[in-house]
Structure formats: structure tokens, C-alpha cells
Amino acid sequence: MLATLNAPISENSLQVVYEYPESLSPVVTHYCPGCTHGIAHRLLAEALDELGLREKTILVAPVGCSVFAYQYFETDGCEAAHGRAPAMATGLKRVQPDKTVVTYQGDGDLVSIGAAEILHAAARGENITTIFINNAIYGMTGGQMAPTTLPGQKTTSSPFGRNTTMTGNPIRMSELLANMDGSAYIVRRSLHDVKNIRKAKKAIITALKVQMAGLGFSMVELLSSCPTNWSIQPEKALEWIEDNMVPYFPLGDYKVRDEVNGL
């Protein structure tokens, strides 16, 4: 038991109803206070536990704040080059199709440098699952503009606010990948409140089931916060997602192949 008891337990027996997931390593993460990466990690770990996948999962963590993700999961893991996780995952999956291969990628990694790899993984219907953390910024490098940075949003590389005539508009990757025949399950959820976090977990479980059933490419996009680089304290950052990101990146199911409903 990791938790240190600091509250009296009443005499009648108390059941644990919520505890540390087995698939999550017992270490403190390097993520900033209030960063929703931590929530996404926990949801993925809980999903792996519930589906009994921990011992056959390989996590592919590319460059980004989540580059250390393999330290935080009790699964085999590797670190892929920036943008190349879907390719590395393809190599890992094709030589051992019985294993569960998951890429955990940020928006800079997936939408910018890795756009070709994710597009072709979906086009091939690669039987891998991608957890796509969209926090509209490059976190690890200190807050630069990403392809998902919102119009007018200030970042360290769009100091006057993102100028869309100069840099174009944010890319809605779920909608784009939903058009790939190989995509079996492409949904966008958010982590900005408890209700949505629960929905996100269900989506992750479904996505993993899609992979287990070999139905093709599955991706769960998760709107996430970056309190440090947004310069917004954690609670307000979650509100910022709801007020600013959700309108631009509507939540919902963008591709759900028929067979997925039967899972």
C-alpha cells in the first residue's frame, strides 16, 4: 500500500474502492502540478489493468513531455524518435501481432513532425492504439506554438498570438484520420472535468479492445492542459480547455466501425 494512512479508520470494515493501478509504476512523475498527462497515464494504466493487458503491452513513447512515459508504466517500453512512434510501433507490432502496442504522443509529435507516420499507420489500418495528448503547445521545450495552438494563442514562438495568415490554422487530427479506411476507432475526449475523464477512460478501453480484436487503427485524442506553459493555474487551465479548446476541437466519435459496437 503506497498510501500513508493519515486519517482514522472507523471500526466497521472499509473496502478500497479506488487505488493505485498495477500497470502504473510506483514513482512520482516529472509532470508539472496539475498537468493532465498524469490523468491520462492513470486512465491508460487502469484500462490495461481491467483488460489484463499489462504483461503483453509495449508502450512507445516519443519525444515530448511524455518521453519518460516508459518509466511510469509497468510494461515493456521504448523511446521513439520525435514523430516516429507509429513507425516504431508498426515494427514492434508486425513481428509479434499477439502483443498490444500503444503509442502515447503529444500534439507536436503527432500532428507536426510525425504527421506522415500517423497518417500512414491509420491508412494501413495498423493494429496499434494511439493515445494522443492535445494541449495545443510544445510542452517539454518550454511552450512553443504547435500545429494545434489556437488562433491568437500566445506562446513563446507566437508572442503576439498565433497569426493564422502567417502560420495557418490548428489541425483537427481526429477528423483527418477518421477519413482513413484503416481507422476503426477515432474519438476525441477531454480531461477537463471528472465527467469527461470518465468518458475518456471508456474510450481508451474501447480503443484497446479494438486492437485486441484486430479491427484496425485506434486513436483516442485527449484535450489536455499545460498550466506551466499556458501560464494558467491548474483549475483555470481545465476551464480554458472547455472554454477555448472544445469549441475548436469538438468532442465526439469521429470513426466507429460497425464491428466496434459489438465489443
Partner: protein, 83 residues
């Protein structure tokens, strides 16, 4: 109402302040008088009247998996969907 409680692993807590904002019973506060090993003010349960129902909403929002939730009625172990 079911009785419950939570245990906050204060060494893991980064003082992000999210759990107090969602606790339906308002029994979680940021301990301004305590500093953990990393220098954060950790969250703490202040529940003299045992109002906590073990609903686990705090655990769902916690980005650092600091909170273990207990509930009196025998619940299916580890079924967050229940919470």
C-alpha cells in the same frame, strides 16, 4: 449515505489544488501549514463530521494518483465506474 474516507499520499502530491475544487462534501483542503518533501503544500482531508462518502471524485481528478478511496459498503474492489 455511505460512509467513506480517503488517504492522500502527501509525498506524491504536487499541490495542484484540483481535488478541493471537485469534492462534493468540501472536506479536502490544501494544507498551507505543511510542506512535503518536494516543497509543495499537499492536499489533506479535514472531515471531523465524517461527511466523506468515498465517492472517489477526488481520485478521478488527481493527476498524480495520490488518493486511495475507502467506502464502508462492500463495493466491487477497484471499480472506479462505480464512483
Amino acid at each position: 449515505m455511505a460512509k467513506g474516507t480517503i488517504v492522500i499520499n502527501q509525498d506524491r502530491c504536487k499541490g495542484c489544488g484540483l481535488c478541493p475544487t471537485v469534492c462534493p462534501q468540501n472536506v479536502i483542503f490544501m494544507a498551507d501549514d505543511v510542506l512535503n518533501a518536494k516543497g509543495y503544500h499537499p492536499a489533506t482531508l479535514v472531515d471531523p463530521d465524517e461527511q466523506c462518502t468515498g465517492c472517489a471524485i477526488c481520485a478521478v481528478i488527481c493527476p498524480d494518483v495520490c488518493i486511495t478511496v475507502y467506502r464502508e459498503t462492500p463495493a466491487k474492489k477497484h471499480a472506479p465506474a462505480l464512483a
